[in-house]
Each structure stands twice: as C-alpha cells, then as structure tokens.
C-alpha cells in the first residue's frame, strides 16, 4: 500500500529567532495554522477522505482555541498523491508569501524565502500490510529534514515578519480588534489575585500599558505603585515559566496498535487531539498561554504562581488528563494493558527572570525535556530555575516517585519567611550532622526538635512542615540512590525554590 506524507519547517529555527512572547507564538502558529491547517483543508477539498488520514486526526476542533497551534508538523495519508501534494504545497506557500510581503519584505525577498527557507518535504513510500507505517515514514521524513538550503544575502524576512506580526493577516485572523498575544509580565501577573475588583484594576494596567520594548518594566512599575496590588506582588511574578512536553512511549503504543488492531489507529489519533484540546483548556484556566498543542507535544508559557496554585499543580492537572484520555481510554485499554512500560508525559520546565532572553528560556525548556526528562525511564519533570542573580538550580524528578509527591505537598504550604530562611540556613550549616543521620527518621526528628524549639517553631504549620521535611529528606535519599551529598543538594534546592515561590517582590 502506498502512502504520501509531508513534514514542514523549519519550526525551531524560526522559533529561535523570536524575542518576545508574541513572536514565539507567531513563529509556531505560522506553521501549525498557516501551513499545516491550510494544507489539510485543501486536501479535504480536493477529495481526500477523512478515513484516509493516518496522522493527524483530520477533524481537529479549534472552537474556543483559535489562537493555539493545534496542528502538528507531520501528515500521512493513504494512497500515492505526490502530484496533488506538490500542487497544494505551492498554493499554501504562496499564501505565506503575501504575509511576508505585508510585513515589509519585498516580493523578491519573500520569494527567496519560499524557495530556500520554508520547506514542505513530500515523501512517498510503499509499505507492506501490517508494518508500522507511522514509524517507517517518520524516519524518512526526519532524514529529509537534514538538508538545509542557504540564503546567502539574507533579507531577514523572518525578523521583519516577527517584529511586524501585529500587521499580518495571520495575527488579525486571531486577534482582530483585541490585544495581541500577552507580554511576559502580562502572563506572569495575569492571575496574581482573584478579587474581581483588583483583577479589573490589573487588567486595566495591562491594557493601558503601551506595547513597546520596555512594556514589561512599565507594568511592574505600575503594579508596584498601586496601593493594593503591590501587596500581592511577589518576586515570582517577575519570572516566567516555559514548558515543553512530549509523550513517552507513544511510539511504542503505536507499534502495539499495529501489532494488535490497526482499526484502533483513528481512535488513538482522536484521543491525542482530545488530549491536546483538554490540556490547552487547563493551561488557559491556570493563566497560561498555550503556543502549540499538537497531540502529545505541548509548548506553553505560564505564570510560575497564581493566587492559589503553582506551575507544578498545573503539570499534575495535565497529567491527569493524559491518564484519563489516553491510558484509561476504554477502546485502547486492552492495548495499553499489554505494554510493559505505559505511555506517560515528560516535561521540561525553565523558569527565568523576565529580562532573560526568551529564546534561551525556551531552549532551556527543550534541553531539560530532551536531555534530562526523557532519559532512561522517562515520565519525569526536569526543571531549570535561573535566578536574576545569575545562580541557577536544576533537578529532574520522577513523577511516580515519592520524592515528587512530597515535593508537591511541601510547596503548597505557607510558613513564615523568616522561619523558612532559618531552615534553609541550617540545612547548609549543619550538613555534617545531617549527613550522619539522613537515613534515620527518629534521629532526624530529634535534630529538628532540638534545633527548632522557639515558640515560632511550635505552630501547627511549622510542625507539619518539619514532618514534611523529614519525609522529603528520606525520599530524596532514596531517589538519589543513597548519595548523601545529592540528597542534601536536592532538598536544599527544593527549599530555596519554595522560598522563591512565596517571596515578596524586591
């Protein structure tokens, strides 16, 4: 049976040229909506039946999520369709050209970019019945992307497009009349309070601050000068979280479907599309802004904290959706149950100061995902926290681990900053004691009782916190394979991060 497929790009190369949040959105949206969705619409118009789509699910609903890139960068259909694909590719790219023209790139230069920058690589392959079509074609598509064309005298059309994005049709089709994709501080402070009156005041500040280069500085200044809002303004509001996530063992699930029952492929395809929609909604409810949600692949901006949650509570919610929609999917359950290692989601999270270059923050999130979270057993969260001072912390945590559960519980708490500071200080100062007793909960309890015996340490919150800390040390010890230094480092990082989440703005 013959199959025809495309892969589009260069996506990451384009995203890496983006400097602002709306530019990252635009760079991703250009491909997802501007190229892939157009391509699928044209194929359907040309008579390709929905049943002939292998990937993606051809009926992706964009209702309520029109600003999100919901279409992935690959497509596979049954039958040999190379001529039709070539014709459609030309049409889709011509439409892109007019966007560039509108952004200040000359016709000639835009044409250069169509020929030598953007690609819609078409691949045809004859694959015997029963073989894993998705895997075989994906491999070929990946190889087709190794080749890069050159534009020797670069008219910088991508930069011009991104800098002028609000003038393009692509942007207007989503944000006509409304404000553009929010800035970094608009995102990070978007849900800092839940009081309606205050929220209105905050939104007014967001709306009234002109979109120029130091827009974020202006917003911060206005919040700090507002009598009430400034009381809620925390240090973490000056930071942004970027998350890149990806499904684990999804390829293996597809393999299993091919082995068991290929009729389940459309079910699986639809489940992925449903997951992407649900995850996008959860992210938006939290106060985040999804940029791309193509199946199990997510890229989004999010506040580090909201008035009652933090980034990790959001990741847990997304995980719940994944479990419900994919793992516990009634029609896929038989197949999933046969797998030794079940599919899961891994996350790369970078948390950086708002002035830190966004392209580097996104790169860090990607690196944390690919180089840390997806190593070995996968199913992990790898986070990188870059402080304004230049110090950075990172950790990779198994989501099923006891340590992760304790970590999430601990950072939900609310104890006095001065008390927390003393815990952090002592953890560092008393390393020599802790190293000896780290694996002995009774002795740890004695240590905490002896060193924290002031009245402020006897409140129920601090007592509960002490217990959590002992549990955390234990599970960190286990997670670190008995390495005492790693254990202390892990817990020290957690406490510092926890302090950061609650700190008032400086």
């Amino acid at each position: 049976m013959k199959y025809t497929a495309i892969t589009i790009g260069p996506i990451y190369k384009t995203i890496n040229q983006a400097r602002k949040t709306r530019e990252i959105w635009a760079a991703s949206f250009l491909f997802s909506r501007g190229i892939m969705q157009e391509f699928i619409d044209k194929l359907l118009n040309q008579g390709i039946a929905k049943e002939d789509f292998i990937v993606p699910y051809p009926d992706i609903q964009t209702e309520g999520l029109k600003e999100i890139g919901l279409f992935p960068d690959r497509l596979i259909v049954r039958e040999s369709r190379k001529d039709m694909f070539e014709k459609v590719a030309k049409e889709v790219l011509q439409k892109i050209k007019s966007e560039f023209h509108g952004a200040g790139c000359s016709d000639e230069d835009a044409e250069k970019y169509l020929k030598n920058y953007f690609y819609i690589n078409i691949v045809e392959e004859d694959i015997p019945e029963g073989e894993n079509v998705i895997d075989k074609i994906s491999q070929k598509l990946a190889i087709s992307e190794l080749s890069e064309k050159i534009i020797s005298r670069d008219p910088d059309c991508i930069t011009k497009f991104l800098l002028n994005i609000t003038k393009t049709d692509l942007h207007k089709s989503v944000y006509a009349g409304e404000r553009s994709f929010p800035s970094l501080i608009e995102i990070s402070t978007g849900k800092m309070i839940d009081d309606k009156e205050l929220l209105d005041k905050l939104n007014k500040i967001h709306k009234e601050t002109k979109k120029k280069d130091n827009q974020d500085d202006d917003i911060i200044e206005k919040i700090k000068n507002h009598k009430t809002l400034k009381k809620h303004f925390k240090q973490a509001h000056k930071y942004i979280a970027i998350v890149q996530s990806d499904g684990d063992n999804v390829g293996k699930l597809i393999e299993q479907i091919y082995k068991s029952d290929t009729r389940k492929l459309p079910v699986f395809s639809k489940a992925l599309a449903d997951f992407a929609r649900n995850a996008s909604k959860k992210i938006k409810d939290y106060g985040g802004y999804p940029v791309y949600a193509g199946g199990d692949d997510l890229l989004f901006f999010a506040p580090v904290i909201t008035f009652n949650q933090n980034i990790f509570t959001l990741l847990n919610k997304i995980d719940d959706d994944f479990n419900k929609i994919i793992l516990q999917n009634q029609q896929l359950k038989d197949i999933v149950d046969k797998m030794d290692t079940k599919p899961s989601m891994s996350y790369g999270v970078s948390i950086t100061y708002y002035k830190f270059p966004l392209y580097e923050t996104r790169n860090l999130a990607y690196k944390m995902l690919t180089q840390k979270a997806k190593e070995e057993q996968k199913n992990k969260i790898a986070y990188y926290w870059q402080k304004h001072s230049g110090q950075s912390f990172e950790d990779t945590i198994g989501k099923n681990s006891d340590f992760y559960k304790k970590f999430v519980d601990l950072i939900k708490n609310n104890i006095q900053a001065s008390v927390l500071s003393s815990f952090i200080y002592n953890l560092n100062e008393h390393q020599f004691i802790l190293k000896e007793i780290i694996n002995q909960p009774d002795k740890l309890k004695n240590y905490f009782d002896n060193f924290y015996d002031e009245s402020e340490h006897k409140t129920p919150e601090v007592k509960a916190f002490k217990k959590l800390l002992i549990d955390l040390l234990q599970s960190a010890y286990s997670e670190s394979g008995g390495d005492v230094d790693k254990t202390l480092n892990k817990v020290y990082n957690v406490l510092r991060f926890y302090k950061f989440l609650n700190e008032k703005a400086q």
Binding site: R19, Q139, S147, K149, K355, F356, G390
Partner: protein, 352 residues
Amino acid sequence: MAKYLVKFQPVDMFFFGQETKYRPKKESGKISYEADYFQKSAFFPQQTTILGALRYLLLQKHGQIPIQDQTTAEQLIGTESFDALQSNQQNFGKIKRLSPVFLMVDNNIHMPAPKDINENLDQLIFNFKKDNLPVIKNYEAKKSFFEGMIRISDPTEFLNYTKNEKTQKDYAFVEVEKIGINKKKTEDAFYKQISFKPNPGKNIAFVVEVEIEEDDLENKIFHIPMGAEKNTFRVEFFKNLSLPEINYKLIVKSNEPIPKSILLISDTFVDEKVNNLFYFSISETKPFRYLRNKTEKNTKYGKFSVTKQKLQLYRRGSIFFFDKQENLDAFIKAINQYRNFVQIGYNHYITL
C-alpha cells in the same frame, strides 16, 4: 614570503561574539540591533577575528598602534578590513593567505566534528537509494548530532568543547560565567556572559597556517587582544610546523553507486544557486556578521561597526551529496568564486 603555523594561546579566558549577541528591535519603523542580556562565547574565533588579530599584530610590531603613518600602515595590513561583498580581490598588505582555524590540544589538532556523527559518537551508515533519499538506520530523529570535535589525524578520537556527562570524553574548555551590571543605561540592567578558558592541565591554542610577507616572526612572543572583551592572547609563529592532512571517510553500506560528496572544513559562503546542485545534505546554515573598519591615521584601533547586511554561511562540518559530477564541479566552482573568503580561510572543503 614565509609560511608559518601560528599559535594563538589564550592567556586566561576568551569571548568570541556570535550572531545571537545581538537582538533585533524596532525603533521608528526600522530594525536596529542591540546587545542581548545573555551572551555566550563561540568556541572558535571567526576567520575575520584571526585576520584582525594578525593585522593588529603587524601594526604593533612596527610601532603603529595607534596608526602614525597611513602609508606604512596600509603597506602592512592593507587599506581596509575584510569585506564580504566586495567582488575585487582584497589586499591585506603583508598577509596573503590564511587556512581555516583549528584547535591544538596537547599537540593534537582538532576541528568541529563533521555532521554525520550521532550523539552516541557513531558515524551514520548510509545506504544510498536510486532517485530517493538514503536510508540511515542509525539516525534517530529525536536525538541530536555530536556537538564536539574530532582529531583531524584520527577521526575516531573525540573531544568535547566543555564537560559533557553524557559522552564522558575529554574536554577543551571550562565555562566562566560573569554577571555584569549597568551595561545599558536603564536601571537594574543585568547581563550574563559566558566566556571560556582552557581546561587546566591542557596545553591549548588556536592554530592557523598563514602565508605572510614577514620573515622574522619566529622565536618571538607577541601579546595581542582578541575577541569582544579584548582578552589577551599569546601568539607565536613556527616555520617548521604545518597542519596534518585531513583524512575523513563516510561509512557507506549500499548496493547502489555511491554519490560524490564533499565536507566543508571551514564555514562557507555560497550563492543560493547551489541549492539546486546537491540532492541531499546534512547541513546547517548560520548567520554571519563581522566588524569592519578602515586603515586611517589615529584610528583608535577597536572602533568598529557591525555590518548591516546579514549574510548566511554553511557551517563547517556540513556534508553535501551529488548525483552528477557536473553538479559537484559547479558546487566547487561556486565555493571558489568568493576569493576573498577563500583567502582568509573560509570556503575550504575536502572531497570524500
């Protein structure tokens, strides 16, 4: 005319600016560029940096820092610095030719790894198919390529740029992080800069072969500033040393005829007409900007402007495949067409 191997040894740390050093912003409808908050040094200096360093060295040797006599200065280093878009052959005074820059580590010469090495340090195994893309069984899309160096005399010897827990190989440089303030005028303007310094215990130098009309450079030690931070480099010239030949072979397991291929051993500037010449490549482009100045009396050496026109180069390590000899010949012709680039060490390649 003398031929030397020149060693540029960082005395402490170095910082070679990259394109991402500059961030575009819109100002009164125009695009301008400003230095970015977070800057990371490149691992190798650009060829233009090496040329600039040698020009500075010659001026310094002849007492022309600052330039006292324009005629003398022009004889030494030419009338202007490198100009990518000039069609005439440029004259850099006594400096006639540069090779690509390599890294010497304890007497072994290294270059950035060709792009057919995966992150497990295995060369890709090509199975060429007629009228189709090759099949590469040991290429995994979600994995990256090896970002490090190979020894040019023994391509199975790998060297990381910095410490890499994954590949566990030896490494050349150590990161030096600097947090600065008040780089810009706005309040609370922090910046973070990552420079590199040699791995202690390793003898490290950037090396270049040069042809230069100055016979007495040997047995002398020069100290010159190089890079964006004007870090000091110790420079020595050796007449009796030269670079070993680069021997690199692809791994092919194919029943079909093996296509002709070339490997770029320096960054390369070519017209986009070459895009129609190769049928497959493992390649990567990079933006190219450099600093320009004119040789003038009392020029405060160090006053440069960044070029406005953004150019693109193919990265060294890129590999191109051709199904016809005439296409390969045309590609080589296109590379050699830019004589100014070739002269200063860009646009060098080997056939595989």
